[in-house]
Amino acid sequence: MRRVAGPVLNVMRRELAGYFSTPVAWVFIVIFLVMAGVFAFYIGAFYDRGIADLDPFFTFHPWLYLFLVPAIAMRLWAEERRSGTVELLLTLPLTAWQAVLGKFLAAWLFIGLALLLTFPVWLTVNYLGAPDNGVIVAGYVGSWLMAGGFLAIGSCMSALTRNQVVAFILSVVVCFGFLLSGLPMVTDLFSGWAPQALLDTIADFSFLAHFATISRGVIDLRDLVYFALVITFWLLANTIVLEMKKAS
C-alpha cells in the first residue's frame, strides 16, 4: 500500500507546493471567488429571488469551470514537457499512472480549496434565512465532483501537447461537449437517425444533468458513480497518452 500510495502523495505534495510558490494559486482563487460572486449575485439575482438557497450560486458553476478548470489543467503536463522536467519525473521509479494521479489530486484539492473559500456565501444565506444546509452540502459535493470531471479531461488534453494554449482550447472544447451532451444542440445531431438507446446514452453523459440532481440535494449513487467513472476514464486516457508518447 505504502509503495503504491507513497509516490502518488509525493507527487501531489510537490504539485500543491508548486501552486502556492507561484502567483497561479492566488490569481486563480481571487478570480474564481470574484466570478462566482458576480454570477450568483448579479446574473443569478440572489437577493431578488427572496429564496434562502444557493441555487443561483451553483447554477453557474458549470460555466465557471468550463474556462477556469482548463486554465488550471493546461499546465499539468504541457509545462512539464516544455521545461523538460517530464524527463526527470518519468525516469524516477514511479509509474505513469502514479504521476497522473498525484498531479490530478493536487489540482483537485486546490480547486476544492477555492470552492471552500466561497463559504461567505453560505454564511450570508444562513444570516438572511433558514436554508436547507443538507442541500447546500450536496451542492458543494456535486460541484467539486464536476470540477474533477473537467479537470481529468483537461489533464488528458494537456498531455497531448507541449503548448499550453492548445491544451486549454482542446480542454474547453471537450468539456463543452460533455457539459451540453444532454441539451438539444447536441442531441439534435443524433435524433431522427440514431436509435433512442444511443440518444439516451449521450444525454446521460451530460455533466449538467448529473450535477443538477446532486445540487437539488439528491445524492444518488448513480451520479457519484458517473463522475467517478468520468474521472477514471480520462485519467486512464491520460496515462495511455503518456505511454504512447514514450513509444512514439
Binding site: 510558490s21 524527463e87 518519468l90 524516477l92 521509479p93 512514439s248
Partner: protein
C-alpha cells in the same frame, strides 16, 4: 544483486521512417567511465533516454544490472541516476525542497529523505543556496542541482547527457572534478560532443553516428588512430630548406609545411623525435619550437564520422 553492468541488445529506435538508433549492442562494466561521442543528432541522447526508461525502444532492449528496461522498467530505473540534457528541474522549488522530493521518489522516507538531500547538498557544495528557488540560480549551480538529484540515492549506474554543455571553463572543470570523484565502483555514461571531455574524464569512448556504433576504444586508442600520432612538429627559420633535408630521412614518410609549422610524419613503426633532434643539432638550424605530437582527437573524430556520411 546481479553483476554491475549495462548490456544493450540490438537497441533500436525509429521515429517514423527516421532511424535514430540502429541495433546498438554494447556492454559496460563497473569502474568504466564511458563517453558517447558523436555529432549532433547521432543518437546519443536517444540511446540514453531508452536506457533510463524515458523512451521505449522500437525493438531490442537493454539490461541494467540484469533488470530489463522494457519488462522491469521500475527496477532498472531504481539502479540509475540520470541527468537529462540541460539539467531540467522544477524552477519554482527551493534546492532543498526539490532534492527532498527526489529523495522521497527514490524511496527514502521522512527523516531519511531529509538526510539524503542534506548529503547531496554537501557533496555538491550547495550549502549556500539551499532555500533559493532553482530558477534564480546561475547555470553552474543549476547543473550542480541536477547532479545532486542524480546521485542522491548513490546509484550504481550514473547516466549524464551532456553534463558540461553550456558551462564556462571554470564550471566545466568543477563538474568534471565532481564526476571523476563519483566514478569509483560505478558505471558512468556521459554523452558529449566535446573531445577534450572524453580525454579528461573517460576510460572508454564510443563514437556513434547515424545511430550506429562506429568505434569502441580507449581515448588513448582513439588518439593513436590519428595520422598525427607520433609525428614531430617544429618551428624553424628557412623551413623550406629544412623540409627538403628532413624528407630525405628514411624514418620520415611525409613532410608538411603549414602556417610556418613543419610537421614530419613517421614511416610505419619508426620513431622520429630523436632522429630529428640529432639533425637539428648536426645542421645547426635555428629551431624555436620542437614537439612530439600525441595525435589529434578532433581529426580522428572528423575522419571517422565523415567516412560514415560519404
Amino acid at each position: 544483486m546481479g553483476v554491475l553492468q549495462i548490456e544493450a541488445r540490438q537497441l533500436s529506435k525509429h521515429y517514423g521512417n527516421l532511424v535514430a538508433v540502429d541495433e546498438l549492442s554494447f556492454e559496460v562494466g563497473a569502474g568504466e567511465v564511458l563517453g558517447f561521442l558523436g555529432p549532433n543528432g547521432a543518437g546519443k541522447s536517444t540511446t540514453m533516454k531508452m536506457l533510463t526508461g524515458f523512451l521505449a525502444p522500437t525493438s531490442g532492449t537493454a539490461l541494467i544490472n540484469g533488470h530489463d528496461i522494457v519488462d522491469d522498467s521500475l527496477a532498472a530505473r531504481r539502479c540509475i541516476g540520470y541527468l537529462p540534457e540541460g539539467a531540467p528541474s522544477y524552477g519554482e522549488m527551493g534546492v532543498r525542497a526539490f532534492l527532498q522530493f527526489v529523495a522521497r521518489a527514490r524511496g527514502f522516507e521522512g527523516r531519511k529523505a531529509a538526510a539524503a538531500a542534506a548529503g547531496a547538498i554537501e557533496r555538491l557544495n550547495l550549502d549556500g543556496v539551499t532555500e533559493q528557488p532553482i530558477e534564480t540560480l546561475s547555470k553552474g549551480f543549476k547543473r550542480r542541482v541536477g547532479l545532486a538529484q542524480a546521485i542522491i540515492h548513490d546509484p550504481q549506474v550514473l547516466i549524464m547527457d551532456e553534463p558540461t554543455d553550456g558551462l564556462d571553463p571554470n564550471q566545466k572543470h568543477e563538474v568534471r572534478r565532481l564526476i571523476r570523484e563519483m566514478s569509483k565502483d560505478k558505471i558512468i555514461v556521459i554523452s558529449t560532443h566535446l573531445l577534450e571531455e572524453v580525454q579528461a574524464l573517460c576510460n572508454r569512448a564510443m563514437i556513434i553516428s547515424g545511430g550506429r556504433l562506429l568505434v569502441d576504444d580507449t581515448p588513448a586508442g582513439l588518439i593513436a588512430r590519428s595520422r598525427y600520432h607520433e609525428a614531430v612538429t617544429l618551428v624553424v627559420e628557412q623551413p623550406e630548406r629544412v623540409a627538403s633535408v628532413l624528407s630525405e630521412l628514411p624514418e620520415a614518410r611525409k613532410v608538411e609545411l603549414r602556417e610556418g609549422e613543419l610537421t614530419v610524419f613517421p614511416a610505419p613503426g619508426r620513431r622520429l623525435f630523436e632522429v630529428i633532434a640529432d639533425a637539428v643539432r648536426a645542421n645547426g638550424w635555428a629551431v624555436s619550437e620542437l614537439r612530439l605530437e600525441a595525435g589529434r582527437l578532433d581529426e580522428v573524430f572528423r575522419q571517422i564520422t565523415r567516412q560514415e556520411v560519404s
